[in-house]
């Protein structure tokens, strides 16, 4: 499978999951503009099975209250930091569950790990893709989002 095709499926899975899970609308951009970025939080889920690797989503810290608030249906109440991190982890989980079936045959079985969520200094700006890594950039009202798929082996 070509890199562009994988990227397309990654974008489709991420845009759809953010919209359906948290009512957050996003659109893909080729490359985010540099500078002025907030600190970010990254959630990573690893997976094993027909394909092995990991999927991560990175959002500006300032975007997390809306993500978690929308998922929880909070009205004007700020979700706790724990809820914000949990919401981002679950988002990564849902995107992973959406993208993997589109990359492998229907019968393939995957074991998806527990999300690992941590604050990062916005590392999205290391823009080069390695051999088995595909990145997609989404623009949200709240800032840029990076979704990264890393595979242990080439498809």
């Amino acid at each position: 499978m070509e890199r562009d095709e994988i990227k397309g499926r990654l974008i489709e899975g991420a845009v759809s999951s953010l919209e359906r899970l948290a009512f957050i609308f996003s659109y893909p951009v080729e490359m985010p503009e540099r500078g002025g970025m907030d600190d970010a939080v990254k959630a990573t889920v690893s997976f094993k099975g027909r394909l092995c690797g990991s999927l991560s989503i990175e959002l500006p810290t300032s975007a997390l209250p809306e993500l978690a608030g929308n998922m929880l249906g909070l009205d004007g109440e700020t979700p706790s930091l724990e809820q914000q991190y949990d919401a981002l982890g679950e988002t990564a989980n849902v995107i992973c569950g959406s993208v993997l079936p589109s990359l492998a045959e229907e019968s393939a079985i995957f074991d998806i790990g527990v999300p690992d969520v941590a604050a990062v200094k916005n590392e999205s700006f290391e823009l080069s893709d390695s051999d088995f890594e595909v990145r997609a950039y989404l623009e949200l009202d709240q800032g840029n989002c990076t979704v990264k798929l890393r595979l242990d082996d080439e498809l």
């Binding site: 849902v94 079936p101 229907e106 019968s107 998806i112 527990v114």
Partner: protein, 134 residues
């Protein structure tokens, strides 16, 4: 009769989403219990009678599939209906779960799908009133 439900998911946000959806569904709900993994859920099931288990698959400590196997092996628990709500990607695994009697909904879910599936599983009348048929 009100429906007692156990929601099992390692994400507290997802548990809240499921519970909120069920509260809005018009179903006659009784006690809603929560567990963060399969082991915790089995512990709760020793002490509480529930009419439905709503469970994720990918969880730490004990995953949902192992929990379902344990429930099926227990004569006192094996008749409890199970609804799996998961990001599970594999059709083969979904079919395996369904062959054990579980129903399946893929995340992200719509409130209507959750409601309609519970109505179907429990065989309750679609008027917001729970009715125990077991």
């Amino acid at each position: 009769m009100a429906i007692n439900i156990l929601v099992v998911d390692d994400s507290s946000v997802m548990r809240s989403m499921i519970i909120k959806t069920m509260n809005m569904s018009g179903l006659a709900l009784g006690e809603i219990s929560q567990a963060g993994n399969g082991k915790e859920a089995l512990g709760l099931l020793k002490d509480k009678w529930v009419d439905l288990v709503v469970a994720d698959i990918n969880m730490p400590v004990m995953n949902g599939e192992e929990m379902i196997n344990r429930i099926m092996e227990d004569p006192e628990l094996k008749t409890i209906p199970i609804l799996v709500v998961s990001t599970e990607a594999s059709q083969a695994r979904i079919e395996r779960l369904m062959s054990k009697g579980a129903s399946f909904i893929k995340k992200p879910f719509s409130p209507e799908l959750i409601r309609n599936t519970i109505v179907k599983i429990l065989g309750i009348e679609d008027n917001g009133e729970g009715r125990d048929k077991r």
